[in-house]
């Protein structure tokens, strides 16, 4: 009997039943679970056949699309792999470069540049004193302003020996020595100035700070920069430099 039902269902779906038969089928379908199953089976098989045999241009197009994406996403694979491999030697050099750069940061040679940038650019002005322009102090000033510190220091040393209370001589002598990297002696002179009450008090402190910067002694450099109070000539420069340190 089941056999009948399968064929009957097929004929019903295909429109091969006449009106009366069709109506009767539908009525039976309401209660006949076996018939319901037959109809479900039929639909399922038909769907599958359609899925397989349909002239599905959309599907063909989709396959074309998928092939393209396959190329993009799967075969690029190889060059990428090559790149990864070829990157390895680069990585070695990149690491070396990184180490060098980090080392450079620790060594920080541009602190010297900071020194140059912030070095005391005071001009030694002495002529207004009305003394003969050929005086020793005048000569020293000329050398100092030309940044010939060695020559300036020789003259200033003499003058300082004669009168170590003269703040002007002391300051430029100390500054020249600092410029000549004779930090210890320079500081000795300048510290005395900084402790005193002359107009060079804070210029001296600033110069000491920079001499420490030159020796890469940041702690002392900061210490001396901090001694320079607001409102003095060197204050702004000192603060700026402090920030950079």
């Amino acid at each position: 009997m089941t056999e009948d039902k399968i064929l009957l269902t097929a004929r019903y779906v295909e429109g091969d039943l006449d009106q009366a038969e069709s109506k009767q089928f539908e009525e039976r379908l309401l209660t006949d679970t076996e018939l319901q199953q037959c109809l479900a089976d039929y639909k399922r098989v038909e769907e599958n056949l359609k899925m397989h045999f349909a002239d599905d241009q959309q599907r063909d197009q989709l396959k074309v699309t998928l092939k393209q994406f396959n190329k993009q996403h799967f075969t690029i694979d190889k060059p990428i792999n090559n790149k990864v491999i070829s990157l390895k030697p680069y990585m070695k050099w990149i690491s070396v470069a990184a180490v060098l750069i980090i080392g450079l940061f620790i060594w920080a040679p541009w602190n010297n540049d900071l020194y140059k940038q912030y070095a005391n650019d005071n001009k030694m002005l002495v002529t207004e004193r009305g003394q003969a322009p050929t005086s020793e102090l005048d000569q020293a000033a000329t050398f100092y302003n030309r940044q010939e510190f060695e020559k300036a220091a020789v003259i200033l040393a003499e003058l300082y020996k004669k009168d170590n209370e003269n703040a002007l001589t002391a300051f430029y002598y100390g500054s020249s020595l600092a410029a000549l990297n004779q930090s210890v002696k320079a500081r000795e002179i300048l510290e005395k100035l900084a402790a005193g009450n002359s107009v060079y008090k804070f210029d001296a402190a600033y110069t000491i700070a920079l001499s420490y910067l030159k020796n890469d002694d940041k702690a002392n450099c900061k210490l001396w920069l901090e001694k320079i109070p607001a409102g003095t000539a060197k204050y702004e420069k000192a603060q700026e430099l402090l920030k950079k340190l």
Binding site: L7, R11, G15, C38, V45, E46, N48, L49, K63, F74
Partner: protein
């Protein structure tokens, strides 16, 4: 019973409409994962590409011919289908069984498993049906093939050189024959 359709249904719609932008999105999300799964399990990148393409066409077919409605997220669904496909392929190739399969599936919801399972069953069913179809007589095969192409049935009758009435009758017979064959194969 009607489950809420997942918002990722958009990917299925994209497959149906060959929407390259969204399909590219699918590839971006899934290609690398399929590739790593397949290549870690005795396959090549080309195998992975084939698997993903097949899986997407399967999804397309289910959507177009069986109204597949996604009730779970698309990505794990697709990946699960790909994995099953690749495992089946390995079985066919008689390669040793895969060591790692399910460890990364732990977070996948029941829904996804169920839906992927269903798709796998459907595919299996389809191959059973096709086997039965191969056992049909030549005339039946011809009639059914033509009927399924999607043309109007009147046109099919014309192409086959028969009347519409004859086609209906013959098609009913062939279909019931096929269904019976499937039943017999199944027993």
């Amino acid at each position: 019973m009607a489950k809420k359709i997942h918002e990722d249904q958009k990917y299925i719609t994209a497959l149906l409409h060959n929407d390259t932008l969204v399909i590219n999105e699918i590839y971006k999300k899934c290609a690398a994962k399929v590739k790593s799964f397949v290549t870690f399990n005795n396959g090549s990148a080309d195998d992975a590409a084939d698997i993903l393409q097949e899986a997407l066409v399967d999804v397309y077919n289910q959507a177009k011919y069986k109204n597949l409605e996604l009730t779970c997220p698309f990505e794990p669904f697709l990946l699960l289908i790909c994995k099953r496909k690749w495992l089946n392929e390995l079985k066919k190739r008689a390669v040793l069984p895969v060591t790692k399969t399910d460890d990364d599936l732990l977070h996948i919801g029941e829904d996804t498993f169920e839906q992927a399972e269903q798709l796998a069953l459907q595919q299996e069913q389809a191959s059973i049906f096709l086997k039965a179809f191969a056992q049909l007589g030549e005339r039946c095969k011809e009639i059914l093939k033509w009927s399924m192409k999607g043309e109007a049935q009147e046109k099919v009758a014309e192409i086959l050189g028969v009347t519409y009435g004859y086609l209906r009758k013959k098609k009913s017979e062939c279909m019931s024959g096929l269904i019976k064959l499937i039943g017999k194969n199944h027993d």
